[in-house]
């Protein structure tokens, strides 16, 4: 169930290999899942690819400073989440500076064609949530991470995961309710 949904199997023996080879192997095994994760977060395929690319470049640059290379996947997943946050913050800044950029990248035409109206409503509602709430929903219900794994990925406590999840679900319910009424 989890592997099907996320494409993120546990890290393999790549950790012991040379950095370039290890990072490339890790990328080949996990890029699809991570790009999908970033697409869910950002709704924008090219930006998602860039975030994942940059996360792996960061992993490569920091390979020798990793205390435990077996945790490389966890490291790169956190980097992807951080990268998504940066993109979203940059979009907000651009929107406030230049009103001409009202046409935010959002979903591509292709994505619009492939995703149903119901799903797009839910995704649009999720994008109205604060970034932490959105992240916790994606990690918990898309990646099916448990509270401990979610807490580790977001570098927050389990208690915060629990309370943020609760608030996010309530907020999402309100937004979807408003859309339907």
């Amino acid at each position: 169930m989890r592997a099907n949904a996320t494409g993120l199997p546990a890290p393999g023996p790549a950790a012991a290999a040379a950095p370039a080879e290890a990072v490339t192997t890790l990328y080949q095994a996990h890029a699809l899942g991570l790009i999908r994760l970033a697409v869910v977060m950002l709704g924008d395929r090219p930006a998602a690819e860039d975030v994942v690319q940059e996360a792996f470049c960061g992993l490569y640059r920091r390979w020798h400073s990793l205390a435990d290379t077996g945790k490389a996947l966890a490291y790169v997943r956190s980097s992807v989440i951080n990268g998504c946050r940066t993109v979203l913050r940059r979009r907000l800044r651009q929107r406030s500076v230049d009103p001409l950029t009202g046409d935010q990248p959002g979903e591509s035409a292709e994505a619009v064609a492939l995703v149903s109206e119901e799903h797009r409503q839910v995704l649009a509602a999720m994008r109205r949530l604060p970034s932490r709430q959105r992240e916790v929903l994606v990690l918990r219900f898309y990646l099916d991470l448990d509270e401990a794994e979610t807490a580790a990925s977001m570098r927050i406590s389990r208690g915060t995961v629990k309370s943020t999840t609760s608030r996010a679900l309530a907020a999402l319910g309100r937004i979807l309710g408003e859309q339907q009424s």
Partner: protein, 444 residues
């Protein structure tokens, strides 16, 4: 199970599944030692390692300058998010990380722009300093164009006779046959050899464009007869043997003036991009970017090539405004063959203001060679009121995510998403861009 949780799962998975498993791009690791930023040595990027991590750029498999403490630039994540331009990383960091080549060759006029003979100058990409000057070989000659191979050390120069224009305004007309010279640079950017090639274009023909292959072994030329119906020959000459393959079709090969670089190769040397106009009928005749399959034996140019995008103006209703996309002038194919890069102009035309151009948006649009769809926009400049400000792609990274280009105000620089780092070069004069000589501003 909570209904909202189920809806989140279903929606997220639907969004995720828009990413097909076979569409994941290759990883491009930086050409940088993974131990960090303090590694101070001249270093050679090992070819084997480069192959293992997917070659970032053909020219990184050669020595580059000393590593600095500067952080290697990242590929900007907001590459498809039009917005204000931000200052980019330093040129030194781009070059030391192997993201852009260290040298370029530009055509420089010896007097008034486009009204005097020209020489070729080898420049250092970081400082802009001139490292060498190549003068015409013949008295009264002028260098009219330059094209680079993929190693950033091999270039071809095009020479013609210079004729003073009889008009009071600048033109790009030169005279006589074209001669070509192969220039090789040392690792320090100095001239190591310069020899004449056994390739000429006679005075009875017009040279529309030329481009040296990435391996420096072949020269592609687009030529047309000065008289008779519009017909273009696309010739690919193997420099070592002189053997030539020719593709031909009735129509107009689109390029800037003189012999601007309207041709571009993929890094594997298997495809060549060009801009084609089938006829000159109507207000906006069909203009398209095409890819020629170079494994074909020659013959019909159109049969051996495929249309990737239409590059003529497109009017797109958008609320109370019209968007005009003008993607002309020498689109280039990215070395990995994944995209066509065009210099696009977006006009927001307010219909209630008598159709007067209101906001001009300028950027470089990239279209998938597989689907023809827009995949990213690099650079974003708004100019009010809109007008024609010519831009020019001069160099593309393998995937097209980093460009070197001339932007609307004439500056040359590195474009990485919404980041711009200007070269240490004076702006390209407007007249040079106006008459289509912008491509001569630099070849990497």
């Amino acid at each position: 199970m909570n209904l909202i949780e189920d809806r989140i799962r279903a929606a997220a998975r639907a969004a995720a599944e828009t990413v097909a498993p076979d569409s994941v791009p290759s990883l491009e690791l930086p050409a940088e030692h993974p131990r960090g930023y303090g590694w101070r040595q001249r270093w050679l990027v090992p070819a084997a390692a480069a192959a293992a991590v997917v070659i970032v750029i053909a020219v990184t498999a050669v020595t580059v300058g000393p590593a600095t403490r500067t952080r290697a630039p990242a590929i900007a994540p907001a590459a498809t998010a039009p917005g204000p331009m931000l200052p980019g990383p330093s040129l030194a960091s781009y070059v030391s990380s192997g993201m852009i080549p260290p040298y370029f060759v530009a055509v420089a006029f010896t007097g008034t722009a486009a009204q005097s003979p020209a020489v070729a100058i080898v420049h250092d990409t970081v400082s802009g300093h001139a490292l060498a000057t190549i003068k015409p070989s013949i008295r009264g000659g002028t260098i009219v164009g330059v094209s680079a191979a993929g190693d950033d050390r091999t270039f071809v120069l095009d020479e013609q006779t210079w004729v003073k224009s009889k008009y009071p305004f600048p033109t790009a007309g030169y005279s006589g046959p074209h001669s070509f010279y192969l220039l090789r640079l040392s690792s320090a950017g100095r001239v190591s050899s310069l020899g004449r090639l056994r390739v000429t274009v006679p005075a009875t023909q017009v040279l529309r464009a030329f481009a040296l292959s990435p391996d420096g072994q072949r020269l592609a030329l687009a030529v047309a007869s000065k008289k008779g119906p519009a017909r273009t020959n696309l010739e690919v000459v193997t420099l070592s043997t002189g053997s030539t393959r020719v593709w031909s079709a009735a129509g107009i090969f689109r390029s800037g003036a003189a012999d601007s670089r309207g041709l571009s190769w993929t890094a594997d040397g298997r495809e060549l991009a060009f801009e084609w106009q089938a006829n000159n009928v109507g207000e906006f005749p069909g203009v398209e970017a095409r890819l020629l399959n170079l494994t074909s034996a020659g013959g019909d140019l159109l049969a051996a090539s495929r249309r990737v995008i239409a590059t003529n103006r497109q009017f797109k209703p958008s609320g109370s405004t019209f968007q005009v996309t003008d993607a002309e002038n020498e689109p280039v194919v990215t070395p990995d063959g994944s995209a066509i890069v065009t210099n696009s102009v977006y006009f927001q035309v307010k219909t209630k203001d008598s159709g007067k151009a209101w906001n001009g948006r300028y950027g470089f649009a990239e279209y998938s060679t597989r689907t023809g769809k827009l995949i990213r926009i690099l650079g974003y400049w708004t100019i009010k009121p809109a007008g024609y400000f010519f831009t020019q792609v001069l160099w593309s990274s393998p995937s097209g995510r980093v460009l070197i280009a001339v932007i609307p105000d004439g500056r040359m620089g590195v474009i990485n998403g919404n980041e711009f780092t200007p070269l240490n070069m004076p702006p390209v004069p407007g007249v040079i861009m106006d008459i289509g000589l912008g491509a001569q501003a630099g070849a990497w």
